[in-house]
C-alpha cells in the first residue's frame, strides 16, 4: 500500500448524496480476477452513455478533473454493498482522498484498507471546497495528513479529525497485513514454540 502523507492534487466536485457502491462500481464488473483495472468502470452509469461514449456532462470526463485525486461529495458516500471493488475502482482511477459530510461504515473502513483517506467535514465546508474545486486546474487542494488540515487554494486551512491508529497506518503505508507483519517476530517465535510442542503437525508437500 502506498504511503499517504501530503497530497496536493486536483479535486473533483460531485455534489450528490447517497452515492452507493453500485454507482461506484456496478455488479457486472465483479467477475474480474483483478483488484486493478476497475478504474475504467468507476461510476460507469454516470460516466458513460448507453452507446458506451463518454457523458461530457460528468465531472470526471472534464479537464482538469480527469486527473482528479480528490473527490468531494455530499452525505452517505459509499452506501450499499460491502464490495471491496468500490475502493479498488476509485484507487485505480487515481482517487486517494474522498471528502464528504458522512460515509457508509463499511465503505469508510474499506477505504482505509486500501490506502484511501476518507475525510469527514461539515456540509457547508464541503460546499466551499467544491467551489474551490470548480476554479479549475490551478486550484489544487492540499491534504496534509500529518498536520490534519486541508489547505485551500487561498491558503486558509480546514482542520479534520482522523483515528490515530488509522492515521499511523496511512502515514507508514501499512495495510492490515503491514500492521500484522510488524509482529512478525512474534509470529515466528509462535511457530518455533509450536514446532517443538506439536512436531507431528504435517506439512503439505505434493510428490
Amino acid at each position: 500500500m502506498d504511503k499517504f502523507t501530503v497530497l496536493s492534487a486536483v479535486a473533483a466536485p460531485l455534489p450528490e448524496e447517497n452515492i452507493d457502491t453500485d454507482k461506484i462500481i456496478p455488479a457486472r464488473f465483479l467477475k474480474t480476477t483483478k483488484r486493478t483495472g476497475l478504474g475504467v468502470h468507476a461510476f460507469d452509469s454516470m460516466r458513460y452513455r448507453a452507446d458506451g461514449s463518454e457523458n461530457p456532462d460528468f465531472v470526471l470526463n472534464q479537464e482538469p478533473y480527469r486527473k482528479a485525486e480528490i473527490l468531494i461529495t455530499y452525505d452517505n458516500l459509499g452506501c450499499g454493498s460491502s464490495r471491496e471493488h468500490a475502493p479498488w475502482a476509485l484507487l485505480d482511477f487515481g482517487i486517494r482522498c474522498v471528502i464528504a459530510p458522512s460515509f457508509a461504515d463499511i465503505f469508510h473502513n474499506n477505504c482505509f484498507k486500501n490506502g484511501i483517506l476518507p475525510i469527514v467535514l461539515p456540509h457547508d465546508v464541503c460546499t466551499q471546497l467544491m467551489e474551490d474545486a470548480r476554479m479549475g486546474g490551478n486550484a489544487r487542494l492540499t491534504i496534509d495528513l500529518p498536520r490534519q488540515v486541508v489547505v485551500r487554494p487561498d491558503g486558509t486551512e480546514v482542520p479534520f479529525a482522523v483515528d490515530p491508529l488509522r492515521k499511523k497506518l496511512l502515514l507508514e503505508g501499512l495495510d492490515d497485513i503491514g500492521q500484522t507483519l510488524q509482529h512478525e517476530k512474534e509470529i515466528t517465535s509462535f511457530e518455533e514454540r509450536r514446532a517443538k510442542a506439536q512436531p507431528w503437525i504435517p506439512r503439505i508437500v505434493l510428490d
Binding site: D176, I177, I187, E191, P199, I201, P202, R203
Partner: protein
C-alpha cells in the same frame, strides 16, 4: 485456570498476540484456496512484493466454476475458464500445492480437506468460502473469510479476529429410521433460526451427534453458517481418530499417536461455560425439508405449507407470502406429493460416500420418475472412484440418474449446472435463496435419502415409505 470449552482451547492455543483493542492475531494452520475468491489476493501479494508465508500449509483446488460433465473438453464459459487458468498461474508462481481439474484428488474444497487428512483436529482452518465451517466436524476451528483476509493469511499465516461467544447445541437420544444428519441439522436451523448462532461458535454435542459418522458430522457443521454461526464444532473422539488414521496427509506412526494424545485433551472441561445452550430430542426429529427461500423454513415431510395469515407480524407475513409466490406453493397444502423437476444429490453438504450410499439404498431396483432429471455429483474424484468400486454408479445409472464429475455443481449456479426459471428441485445442498441454483429456480433442501425418494417417485416423498 477456569474450565474451558473446545472452542476456548483451540482459540487459546492459536493466539500469537492480543492487541490493545482485544483483537487477536490468530495463527492459521490450514488455508484452503479455490478459484473464485483468491485471484485478487494473489494479485495483492504480487503488487506489494510479498511472499506467501507458508505454501506448505496451503492447498488449492478448483471447484466452484468447473463443469461436472466431460472433462476432456475445454471449459466453455470464458470467465470461468479465466478464473481457473488464473488460479493455475498463481499456484505455480507462489508454489502452492494444487489438485488440478484432471487429478483424481480434485473435488469440492470442503470434501477434499478432511478426505486427504489436510484438515485435522485442533487446527485453525480458513478458506474464502462460508462453508469452511464443514471442517469443524474434525474438531477444528474452521471459518470462511473475505478476499482481503485471504491475502492477509497468505502473507502472515494469521488472521485478525475477536473471540466469538460459546454456544452448545445438544441432541440427545436416538433418531428414528430415515432420519439423517441433514434432518437433524435442518431441524436445528428450523428451531433456532438463521440468526440463531450469530456471534457464536456452536459446539454440537449429545448422543445423537456422537453416534454420527464423520460425514454426518460434516453435514451438521457445514450448515452452521446457515444458522448464522461463525463456526461449528464437534469434539474429536475415537470416530474422528479412526477417520484420520492413514489419510494421505495425516501424521503417521508415532507422530499419529502423539497427535491423538493431544487431540484427546481438546474436549470441553467439566463445568465449561456456554453463553447459550439449546437442547433437542432426537426422537422428535422426523425427515424434514424446506418449503421457502430461507434455510429456516423447515417442516416435517408429513407437514403442510404454513399459512401467512397465521403470522401476526405484518413484515414476516409479507415475506412468507413472497416465499410462497416464488416457490409456487399454496398455504395449507401438504408438502409431500409436490412434483419435482430436478433432483440434485451433491454439494459440500452431502456428496460424500456415505451420502451416496444412502441415496443408492433408496434408488436400488427403482427407476427415476418420468420427466425428472436426477443428478449425482460426487464431492471428489476419490469419492467417485470409491462409489464405482462399490458399484453405486451402476445402481444410479440403471435407475436413470446422471453420474457426474466432482464439483460444486448445482449448489450455486456458477457453472453450467443450473435450474431454469420455475423448475422445482429436491436438493441436498445448503441454500435455498431465490435464484441460488439458477434464476427463478425453486429449491427444497433435504437429505440424500429424501432426494433419492423424490427422484424415484417424481415428487417430494417421505423416504420412510420406501425403506
Amino acid at each position: 485456570m477456569a474450565p474451558r470449552t473446545l472452542f476456548d482451547k483451540i482459540w487459546d492455543s492459536h493466539v500469537v498476540e492480543t492487541l490493545p483493542d482485544k483483537t487477536a492475531i490468530l495463527y492459521i494452520d490450514r488455508h484452503l484456496v479455490h478459484e473464485v475468491t483468491s485471484p485478487q489476493a494473489f494479485e495483492g501479494l504480487r503488487l506489494s512484493g510479498r511472499r506467501l508465508r507458508h505454501p506448505d500449509a496451503t492447498i488449492a483446488v478448483v471447484d466452484h466454476n468447473v463443469p461436472t460433465s466431460d472433462r476432456t473438453q475445454p471449459i466453455e464459459e470464458a470467465e470461468s475458464r479465466n478464473q481457473i487458468e488464473t488460479l493455475e498461474r498463481n499456484v505455480k508462481e507462489f508454489g502452492v500445492p494444487y489438485f488440478p481439474l484432471l487429478s483424481a484428488r480434485q473435488g469440492i474444497v470442503h470434501v477434499v480437506g478432511p478426505e486427504q487428512g489436510i484438515s485435522l483436529p485442533g487446527m485453525t482452518i480458513v478458506c474464502g468460502d462460508s462453508h469452511t465451517s464443514t471442517h469443524g466436524a474434525m474438531g477444528a476451528l474452521a471459518f470462511g473469510i473475505g478476499t482481503s483476509e485471504v491475502e492477509h493469511v497468505m502473507a502472515t499465516q494469521t488472521i485478525l479476529q475477536k473471540p466469538a461467544k460459546n454456544m452448545k447445541v445438544v441432541v440427545e437420544g436416538q433418531v428414528g429410521p430415515g432420519v439423517t444428519a441433514k434432518d437433524i441439522m435442518l431441524a436445528i436451523i428450523g428451531h433456532i433460526g438463521t440468526a440463531g448462532g450469530t456471534g457464536h461458535v456452536i459446539e454440537f454435542a449429545g448422543s445423537a451427534i456422537r453416534e454420527l459418522d464423520m460425514a454426518g458430522r460434516m453435514t451438521i457443521c457445514n450448515m452452521s453458517i446457515e444458522a448464522g454461526a461463525r463456526a461449528g464444532l464437534v469434539a474429536p473422539d475415537e470416530t474422528t481418530f479412526e477417520y484420520v488414521r492413514g489419510r494421505p496427509f495425516a501424521p503417521k506412526g508415532e507422530a499419529f499417536d502423539a497427535a491423538v494424545a493431544y487431540w484427546k485433551t481438546l474436549a470441553a472441561d467439566e463445568g465449561a461455560h456456554y453463553d447459550r445452550v439449546v437442547e433437542l430430542r432426537a426422537e422428535d426429529i422426523t425427515p424434514v425439508l424446506t418449503w421457502g427461500t430461507s434455510p429456516e423454513t423447515v417442516i416435517p415431510v408429513t407437514g403442510t405449507v404454513p399459512d401467512p395469515a397465521a403470522e401476526a407480524d405484518p413484515g414476516k407475513r409479507a415475506q412468507m407470502q413472497r416465499m410462497l409466490d416464488y416457490m409456487g406453493l399454496e398455504a395449507g397444502q401438504k408438502i409431500a406429493g409436490t412434483p419435482v423437476d430436478v433432483v440434485f444429490i451433491g454439494s459440500c453438504t452431502n456428496s460424500r460416500i456415505e451420502d451416496l450410499r444412502a441415496a443408492a439404498a433408496v434408488a436400488a431396483g427403482r427407476k427415476v420418475a418420468e420427466g425428472v432429471r436426477a443428478m449425482i455429483v460426487p464431492g471428489s474424484g476419490i469419492v467417485k472412484a470409491q462409489a464405482e468400486e462399490e458399484g453405486l454408479d451402476k445402481v444410479f445409472l440403471e435407475a436413470g440418474f446422471e453420474w457426474r464429475e466432482a464439483g460444486c455443481s448445482m449448489c450455486l449456479g456458477m457453472n453450467p449446472d443450473r435450474l431454469t426459471p420455475g423448475q422445482r428441485c429436491a436438493s441436498t445442498s445448503n441454500r435455498n435463496f431465490e435464484g441460488r441454483q439458477g434464476p427463478g429456480g425453486r429449491t427444497h433442501l433435504l437429505s440424500p435419502a429424501m432426494a433419492a425418494a423424490a427422484a424415484v417417485t417424481g415428487c417430494l416423498t417421505d423416504v420412510r415409505e420406501l425403506i
